[in-house]
Symmetry: C2
Subunit: 414 residues, 2 copies
């Protein structure tokens, strides 16, 4: 194929003959002149024709011709009367025009037609932010000596939460899809000290909410030789700052010291300033998280807020208690714009502590407990939901809008 | 926690008091002196004691003391009579000594005890090579303008090969684990032009072989606006060269031009030089791949060999035919040390071509075909099996040795 010029570079070639290739983003036929706007992965550029070219929008074309400067053209330059070659025709029109600045379609229309709908630059942009965010996550952890791992997604027991797991037929035996890499990443702290994994996790979420998916991409990290959960929060702060820096316009500022509020203090704030009294409840309701998000913005000018010290009662069994207050835990949530974005904390690391909390159930966890029988350092970690991060950064109301092909209670296709 | 010095940096602190932390890798008690070898993620270092410390191997400890130069010590320096603090005790002995240079255990013992066995530096090294290889894969593709994607692992139809899929219960409906991101990555060429994904793929492989797993990590790439499969091979060559460069000792040299042999010519070579005559067969047997690997090493001094032009009969339906020889395809395998490491090629990109090859079955693929109805450029891609790559680079005989927690016909735990 002849050398192809990215359309974003067109203005660097004024006066030269170039070849561009892409999709017919828009076709406009005026009385004396016609335009094709060509879209490639770098942007859009316009070509001007005396005779209207007979190509439908989304046709894949190559245009070859001389570049002329035009300050009014989207890329500052345009092709004038180029030779046009059709690389691939279309059989169907898109379900909505892809060239409108906004997306003139409902979420179900977008999701049902993802293969073509995601070509809309505003929708595509969400996934460019996702890719840049994941790269930022890895960059920070690579610098800090973490090792990337890949753990099984098929597991023998539905251990972590018991419910909400997908069952599958594994060569005639029952098996389950992993809800998280939790047990594996903890065991791998024993091998690598510091690990991360970017991968799919699966929850058979029976509720139709705007913030849950049956499959999402989890950015998991776990590190050993910590003093307590605050060492984990410090790493998380660096990760989130780099992710925000990579997300471009709309991304939040991450304070060098993210404000933190203790769970009990947060409940007292809520009791004092809202009509409700959540004291004694073991967890925060979404409305409480929203109020705390607004409070942190007001008090600290921060869109991020750590809530620490959640009651042990509502945290998973592997959570490390606060040595000074055994009913509270060395765990945290990170709220971003009033929504839980990250859950993390210090884990139990002594075999005897696991035996004590699991009691009779220890047998179900024998594979998991093996790592702790062989000496594990104090450790902790966190998990960031990628789709939720992008949705909050770009203010997309429904998490289905930040998964390429979302899976939920009703949706298994396309 | 007080500042911790990585053991690999010990020699930089001769004369100073430092704190190191890690696992008791080895304990040696001699008549007048005792040694602890401490392992952390950076290596091993020795501490010398007048009185033998009572700690079992794999105990997690912190040692604080003065660093003394000692050219005989593994890291060129050692701690003399440091203060010892136990961070975590052990309940069990490892199934084999972790300090021996070789691994004195069979593969099943390693796999059954992965959480502790992988602490052996030689076993851990395999996964450091895996992590470096994946980083190299991404680095090359990021530079070339690829976008990272995350696609569904739960799919509605068992389309790609029909057999060897895992079935699962999806909210009461049948669903399947994805055997590859093939259809999704092709559709995403329509959005991003160039995409890659690193993720798990699932095959219900009913045979017990040394080179197949029920779950493996697939490094998938797909790119648009190619002339033919040779543009894909050129990208793949860059990827493999970077991966080899990252793999360290034992890694192969990747020629700037990897030798390529046409499938028909390869069969003629085999007929001429081996006792067999495979001409007319639609695929190469593993023994033939091995012979071709040796031939390429002899003829070209290359551990890599492309075989191109496989018969259409044995390639998946989305394979693009060779326009000059319609029975042959624009596809390739990349053999590495005589084993298929990568499969790839140019794909069909015209909706009408899919309709023609699928015929009546087109309805089963309607989600997939949607992308092609909306204009898709000529494109192609490839998939590298991560575990197989590491096994071949490090000459590990069984692919189970390069997965942290392998899954196969018999193995669903730990």
């Amino acid at each position: 194929m002849s050398t192809r010029t990215p359309v974003a570079c067109l203005r660097d070639h004024v006066g030269s003959t170039v070849s561009i290739a892409g999709w017919v983003h828009r076709r406009r036929v005026l009385k004396s002149v016609s335009f094709l706007v060509i879209r490639d992965r770098t942007g859009t550029a316009q070509a001007v024709f005396r005779e209207p070219p007979e190509v439908a929008e989304e046709t894949v074309v190559r245009l070859s011709g001389v570049v002329a400067a035009n300050p009014q053209a989207p890329s500052g330059a345009e092709l004038r009367d180029p030779a046009l070659e059709v690389l691939s025709t279309v059989e169907k029109r898109p379900p909505f025009p892809l060239y409108r600045p906004d997306v003139p379609a409902s979420l179900p229309v977008v999701l049902d037609n993802a293969a073509v709908a995601l070509r809309h630059p505003a929708l595509r942009h969400r996934f460019e932010v996702a890719a840049a965010s994941v790269a930022a996550f890895r960059r920070v952890l690579d610098r800090a000596g973490f090792t990337e791992i890949h753990t099984p997604k098929i597991v023998a027991t539905a251990t972590e939460s018991g419910s909400n797991v997908f069952r599958l037929d594994y060569f005639g035996r029952p098996a389950y899809l992993a809800q998280s890499p939790q047990f594996f990443k903890q065991a791998m702290v024993g091998v690598f000290e510091r690990v991360y994994e970017v991968g799919p996790v699966f929850r058979a979420e029976p509720h139709d909410t705007a913030r849950h998916l049956a499959q999402h991409t989890s950015l998991d990290a776990e590190l050993g030789f910590i003093a307590d959960h605050r060492d984990v929060m410090a790493v998380l702060r660096e990760v989130v700052a780099e992710m925000a820096g990579a997300a471009g316009p709309g991304a939040p500022e991450v304070p060098s010291d993210i404000p933190a509020v203790d769970f009990v203090a947060a409940q007292e704030l809520l009791a004092r300033h809202t009509g409700e009294d959540p004291r004694g409840e073991p967890d925060l309701a979404p409305a409480h998280e929203r109020w705390l998000g607004e409070w942190a913005a007001r008090e600290f000018g921060s869109e991020f807020l750590f809530v620490t010290g959640y009651p042990m009662a509502k945290r998973p069994f592997y959570t490390h208690p606060d040595p000074a207050r055994p009913g509270q835990s060395n765990s945290f949530d990170l709220l971003f714009r009033g929504m839980e974005l990250v859950t993390g904390g210090q884990r139990l690391h002594r075999h005897a502590d696991y035996s004590a909390v699991l009691g009779e159930a220890a047998g179900d966890y024998s594979d998991y407990l093996d790592a702790f029988a062989h000496g594990m350092p104090p450790h902790g970690g966190f998990a960031i939901g990628l789709e939720r991060w992008v949705a909050q950064v770009l203010r997309v109301g429904n998490i289905r809008g930040t998964a390429l092909f979302p899976r939920d209670l009703h949706r298994l296709r396309p």
